[in-house]
Amino acid sequence: MAGESNGAGVFGSSIRRREDPELITGRAKYTDDLQLPNTAYCTILRSDYAHAKINSIDASEAEALDGVIAVYTASDIADSGVPGGIPVGWLLPDMKIPEHFMLAKDTTRYVGDGVAIVVAEDQYTAHDALDLIYVDYDPRDGIADPKKATESGAPLVHDEAPNNIAFDWEIGDKEMTDAAFANAAHVASLDIVNNRLIPNAMEPRAALADYNNITGELTLYMTTQNPHIHRLLMSLASLGLPEHKIRVIAPEVGGGFGSKIHHYADEAIAAWASMQTGRPVKWTATRTETYLTDAHGRDHVTHAEMAMDENGRFTGLRVDTYAAMGAYLSTFAPAVPTYLYGTLMSGEYDLPAIYCHVYGVFTHTVPVDAYRGAGRPEATFVVERIVDEAARVSGIDPAEIRRRNFVAPDNFPYQTQVALAYDSGNYEGALDKALAEIGYDDFRSEQAAAREQGKYLGIGLSTYIEACGLAPSAVVGSLGAQAGQWESAVVRVHATGKVTVYSGCSGHGQGHETTFAQIVASALGVPYEDIDVIEGDSGVMPHGWGTYGSRSAATGGSAIASAAEKVVDKARTIAAHLLEAAEEDLEFENGNFFVKGSPDQTQSLPDVALQAYLAHNLPKGIEPALEATSFYDPENFVFPFGTHIAVVEVCADTGHVELQRYLAVDDVGNVINPMIVDGQVHGGIAQGVGQSLYETAVYDEGANLLSGTMLDYAVPKAHFLPSFETDRTVTPCPHNPLGVKGVGEAGTIASPAAVVNAVVDALSPFGVAHIDMPVTSEKVWNAINN
């Protein structure tokens, strides 16, 4: 990497997060903290019905309430002349794309679908007025189950999508895979439900829109992971304002897990209401609205089969999935169960034949879109569960069957049967390390002894791979993305040698202000304290694509490294001029340029910066100032991998699953800040354990959300979890300048399978082959007793 010779050791050290003092003392400013003079407050009336025709809306009482400025419905938005659309940003062949308007026009399609808008002088009045709007609904049948929704006679979400099928997608070679099954010695088969999850970012979504009707400029402060994407979609699809007249600012954002990637109606409604009233308008979701409107995650019904030869070598994998899209196609929803799912079906295995078929299905539910891991947790769960089932039916130890089927370390780059080309890896290395640390060999005898005493211990492996940092843009575009996947950076060295870095990423808890500064400190040899990182303002930095999909270090960090390298190159030219030496004779170490062999006479980066700004004595043809911009488009995805192991004890009396140990050995390439990487792994595991043991969005037969509050939806608490053990192997990414891969989603991707495999292992004396998530104590008790 650029600047690795500076010896500062900043890259790779566990510097404490510089963001935290503000965050933990309450000084950080989130969207809802911001106050603009003359602000009005907006609330949104939401459908209580999963599916209903709207006969009429009577808002007269609400309009008459003191303090109410206006009540609007869909027809007001349509009449205002704005496009009013909420678009999908990933197109698949023959996909049905029903209209998604900012408010329901004549039909509501999920509980929570927006029906009317109140704008009032204060929050209380805005909420009071919601109770005074009378909607005459004609309720219709709704459906929430993605498989049942495709059956004939199921209620239709959109008339133009027969059998509620949004798309019919496949990857791999069906004939070759069928042939593998025809010749198989053993076949493992599982029916799997990947439970629907509700994102729980600590900060609910919010928007403060300030439309200036003199200049025609809209400033939109909002909870976003990608301000530029929101600016683009607000301009093109929702508001019709010219892109350069919209400035989207992400103040401090309190978590997202994907839920703040998507372009929702609500923030567009706040902006539109500001355009109508000529006043700043604020909308802040209640926690209830968060549950009813933030895009949910997962929600797959899958049948998976693995074919093997007599030695337990995998010969074919066949997967058939019904993936819920919810009521409308959310921003990147079609990519999640397709290109982020089917392409991962090879796992870490040398699998000669794969066929994966996916129906994307409309249901009368909140739209489903990317949620931490997005497609890859679902794929990993299928692969790692079917591999364990393959071990069970073939009688081969789960660690051994994995080892037999891994892509060998000398087999990279490895072209899978499902499009991805893995660039590097050492899967057995991570497995061996994890098995040694958990004491796998001893565990089996402990397990046998414990069973004698009526104690049921289980161990579960998840040898996962993930593909993150989607790229390059041309490939992503060919698969249907209506977005690029490169990233931008500006590295600006000021006249005094202090540095401001601008990134097109948009962190919301990841620690970019720390890690990106570490990258630049190492590259420029400038003290870490002298570097600030700014993100999240479409009016300040060049276009960027934001933070999601574990892309920020690999893609955004590489853009920063590349901009820093350009700065060093320019500084070298100026330094050579000042030192009256040839550029190629200069060394750059610890932020100082000097002629090889003459380290006493130096030009430091700050010296050069001052000269660059004074511009009194610059080499011919060199422009003043010292900054560089980079737009970095990676060659390929990055492929983190590793082995996670869960150890559980199941109480036969109650069915309780106690997670006793959880070990993660991850390979995320070079590590910028080990503490932050550990933090990401810990958070990811907690979320994955949440999915496997506790969390699930429950809809009733009529598609009403039953788990609509935190009283019902179980986000894991600290005391449910053991202290995680983490370790790493390091296989640098060969194609980016930092050698880094992503880590934000690894824990969420790997852990559900590890936990469920452990529970199934614990229950093997009872002949249990599978339990769907969340593995509640009741399900376990039933498995033992029935």
């Binding site: 805005a126 935190m710 009741e778």
Partner: protein, 285 residues
Amino acid sequence: MYPSKFDYHRPSSVQEAVQILSSNPDAKILAGGHSLIPVMKLRLAAPAALVDIGRIDALQGISRSNGSLRIGACVTYHEIANSADVQAAAPALAEAAGQIGDRQVRYRGTIGGNLSHADPASDLPAAALALGATLHVTGPGGSRSVSASDFFVDLMMTALQPDEILTGVEVPVAQSGTGSAYVKWEHPASGYALCGAAAVVTRGASGSCTGASLCFNGVSSTAVAATAVAASLVGSDLSDATIESAVGDLSIPDATGDMFASAGYRQELAKVMGARALSTARDRA
């Protein structure tokens, strides 16, 4: 999370509070607020007025006299869980209070609010019932006492009249030979009891059981006493095997279930929690 408009009163005496309640039929008593405020924010409740009894001195404090423990209605879970008097006199009550919610909830929530709210999944009702607590109530017509077994009427319904205030709870001090315990299986989301078991047992000089009580939260629409199981233990040796066999016959009529745990599973949990509570109580007796 914006409640509807309401008036706010902060009386300084029980009498004044009763007076305000009598003249405001749509008023609700506010104590710790940890059940009431959330439902108001969800607009599931919209009382016209709140009567904040949090600063009435007479409702504070824990005192012990004449073989009983008197706990003011506004004493918090935290105070109860950490009171040496409660821990010694009624361990099941201290244990139940210590397992409610989280630290912040325990610093605010009160015993009076908890029992008056009568949430079937809350932790204190079963403990109050098993310990044979007496609830002191004041209304416009004066004060009266209600036994815990008469207090809990149905789902979130008690013997309290709308203009009455629960002022305090009296619990008998455990005599030598008596032990009590509360064991809970918590709902992973809410932290409420999927099943909570409170047990009190008394052993005679010979070690055999002379009295037993076993009550549950979370499995029915109110806290419920397993009288048959308790009766079957009297005269027994209270061995693990005896307890296990006794709870094996447990049947809770009208057991309730929800999307997280069925009625049948809660019954099974009740057997396990019941046995654990009984054996712990026995060990303390």
